[in-house]
Amino acid sequence: MGMLDELKRLDQELDSELKQTDSLSSLEALRVKMLGKKGQLTALLRSMGSLSAEDRPKFGQLINERRERFTALLDEKQKKMQALEQEMRLKAEQVDVTEPRRLPEVGTPHPNTLVLNEVVDCFTGLGFEVVEGPEVELDHYNFELLNIPKNHPARDAQDTFYIDDNVVLRTHTSPVQARIMTTRKPPIRIICPGRVYRADEVDATHSPVFHQIEGLVIDENISMGDLKATLAAFANRLYGKDIDVRFRPSFFPFTEPSAEVDLTCVSCRGKGCRMCKNTGWIEVLGCGMVNPRVLDMCGIDSKKYSGFAFGIGLERITMLRYGIQDMRLMYEGDMRFLRQFR
């Protein structure tokens, strides 16, 4: 006896202790107890000196086999326990994924800006350049060069804010066009977004301050067909491919012929609803071929060049786009309104 029994006992001890081990630390203690420098298997190896020379290698091999077996068993147990322990930790760390948290607040530009960006992207994509000009403007550019002579009804104080006899708050962004026409040579392809002013009292659909986007193209052989295509591109980009454009005869002092532009009602898509008064069309903007007299006044040869111009009311299309019923909301700045846009 002695050694062989001892080995057998160790086997049994390991098996039983392994079964009882329930933590990585006790497993580690077991490993030390068995395989450590002062462990039982090491002690057994040391005690080999008492064996005969012929038994020694045989026995050494048996002990090494035990060492490999014990190591394998301990490693296997350790792996299992580690997996178990991680599983338990993860379970303990479980959170209520439905518990609410505050979102990081990300702001937005004003609805007017959001729509303006769409419009500007559409026209810059067609080769239009954005040009801006002063809001406090000379009468000369706001009226005179646009074929709205002195004493024209459009100049009435009912409609126009005056600073003095020669200076007004621009009533449209067309004076920017006039400034460009007097300083540049054709071809011209510009849009002029900006604030404009009219002496209207504030209500749901009127405001003394609002925004326009006016466009101007001057080149040789520009026709009303070019104008229609340009505006169709705009309408389709903003409201969808199924939107049609309809021109109706109209009158503006700086264009001839002039047209009022209707789009397929964006609410009912042309079927007829309250918004379009059952006509299937909504009036969106005014446009026309630049009056040759305006070209001549601005120093552009109307025999050689022709052009078109259009004017879009930004608030109007923003209200259509988002279904805003009252324009005052856009200038009040209530967060409950502003937080709705994206």
């Binding site: 004003h110 994509g125 350049e129 804010f161 005056y162």
Partner: protein, 796 residues
Amino acid sequence: MKVSMNLLKKYADILVSPAEYESRMIMTGTGVEGIEDLGEKLQNVVVGRVLTCEPHPDSDHLHVCTVDVGQGEPLQIVCGAPNVAAGQLVAVALIGAVLPGGTIKKGKLRGVESCGMLCSGPEMGVPVELYPSVGEAGILVFNEDHPLGTDVRDIFGLNDRVIDFEILANRPDTLCVWGVARETAAAMNTELHLPEITVKDCGEGDISDFARVEVKDSDLCPRYAARVIKNVRIGESPAWLRQALHAAGMRSINNVVDITNFVMMETGHPMHAFDLSKVRGSHIIVRRAQKGELLRTLDGKDHTLQGGELLICDEQGPTGLAGIMGGEESEITEGTATVLFEAAAFDRTSIRLTARSLGFRTEASGHFERGVSPATVLDGLNRACQLVNELDAGDVVPGIIDLYPEPVQNQPITASVDRINRRAGVCVSGEDMVSILKKLQFDVKLDGDTLTATAPSFRQDVDGEADLCEEVLRYAGYDLIPTTALRGAANGGRSAAMLQNDYARALLSGMGFYETMTFSFLAKKKLEMLNLAEGDDRLNPLPLRNPLGEDSAYMRTTLLCGVLTTAATNMAHGNADVRIYELGKVFDNVHRTEENLPTEKNALCLCAYGPKEDFYSMRVAAEALLARAGVNYVIRENEEPFFHPGRRASLVCGGTVIAEIGEIHPLVMENYELTQRAYAALIDLPALFDCAAPMGHVKPIARFPLVTRDIALVMKNAQPVGPVMEAMKQAAGRMLEDIQLFDVFRGVQVGLGNKSAAFSLAFRAEDHTLTDEEIQRLMNKVLKACKEQFGAEIRA
């Protein structure tokens, strides 16, 4: 402008449905704002004869009648009117009839079945001017004969639709029934039947025996024409005339006045009728008013004139405002025996300005403001006389006074068929253009490509090829315009200013700010509420000459007022955690441009309030805008009086103030009704971009390790850490990659009046690993600088 379809159909054939007609008119340029069916509330009411009328067995005031309505068996109807009697011709509302008060149903009255109702005038809602006896008590009894079963709307002239046309500013010629009829005939391609104007005068005497007219200011009155009617027989107008006026929303007065109103409606020429016996000296003088002259108009109002208004006067003085309203004195009355009809053309601007300055507008002034053609004045005048003949309202005196010193005549326009087509983008043949223009009563000639056209005398808006192009296109159809994409490449894009705004918006959105917009006007008070020092340019805003009110009398010199107002609104509405900004122009009235306009500057103003906000949260938001653009700035003192004096700063680059940040001063909070502390930043975007360093090439990534050293320095409590850190950077040089303040401590341990500030410094060299000795050398320099410049000692 409202036009009766019945009247219109006298002059132009309309063979299609109202809806189709409306659409055709809209597409040729005469807008339709609405169509009103005059008889909508009077349906299924017919003429019937009362055959029998017996007292009701169970009532002391009801009658049981049998009524023949011209179809089927007579109807049994119970009637409560005391005036009902057998043999009367009455208005019978049949079962299912619609009246203003509701629908008629079969019913029983005290046990007797009643199959309809006999109507009174008020029950049918018929105005007195349409049928004079409707005002009488009891049921309406027709005194004249009508076939049984006749729809009563035909008798009252209510079987009509009134179309409200939208007349374009350049087409005053269509501001009348004939004008619309001309457009209608052209649009529907039907015959136009305007009446031939012929006047039968009485053959005796001459107008010069009755009246004299003198136009002293013919610049404001290019044409003045008059005719005289004697033996005037004032009376009621016939039904057709009363009905026509009613449909257009006008009241019938008497035959002479009605003629003038009807002619204005028909021809677009406002007329005036004078009682000639009240025109002193029988002498009409047209002249400008002198300052201070007094005038009483027809409506009984007294006016003191500013001078320059065009007046109609007699030898004693003013009797009427030319083209706007006549005088009370020469008004037509029952006793008027001799009438002078005036038809004239007045200067549209003069009429408009006078009407505006006196604060009233009449149908006539409306016509003159839009422009009445001098060329067709006599058509109006003679049409009135023709109607006097027809209505037998008096005897027309031979002769016309017609003062028309400079007759206007439309000149022929030479145009090119090809150019018209190229402008419109369509392809209409020269022949088709001729036929369109002929339909519009132009005088046209075509010679190859050359089109020569003269507009009819009633048109004043056609004076060039572009106008002809529009006429052609209107009738060829705007729908013909194709869509042809723009040709040629063009280099489009956003303006520099727009890109700057885009930059700010993108960053601010990311930082949780929402864009707001407010009006560019403000009350001066709002600026004063900012606590600004006297002499501040911002207290000198640009005033409007005609503001809507005191609240919007000036152009803003800063965005702060609008943004603070928006913040206050949000506080009042209970909105928590608010970050907003506005981007827009501010107007510097003191510094002027070359054109002597105020300087307009693109400004940005941020504002925030809420538990997470403080001075620093606002400062870092502003700093982010500068830093992201590569602006190398320092924090400096700020003295804006609307900020808390201990919580305000400027971000400065090379002497330019780019941003001003602060907590709102309690006084300003109170002024703006801010109920919580709020923080604001004013940012000069153009300056920011002037100072921005353009992005160059990227730097290589450093390969050598970063070494950090923490130090705590004790300094005076009042010592700002900013300059200390700047000095540290200066001293350490380019090896110092980053420096952070991570703690500030105040307590007895560091001495009273002192604070300890802890910094973390990170060093790195591009080309080698820094040694301890090197770092120690750098740290020594840093400590030395801190000690020498700020007396800051390393904390023991």
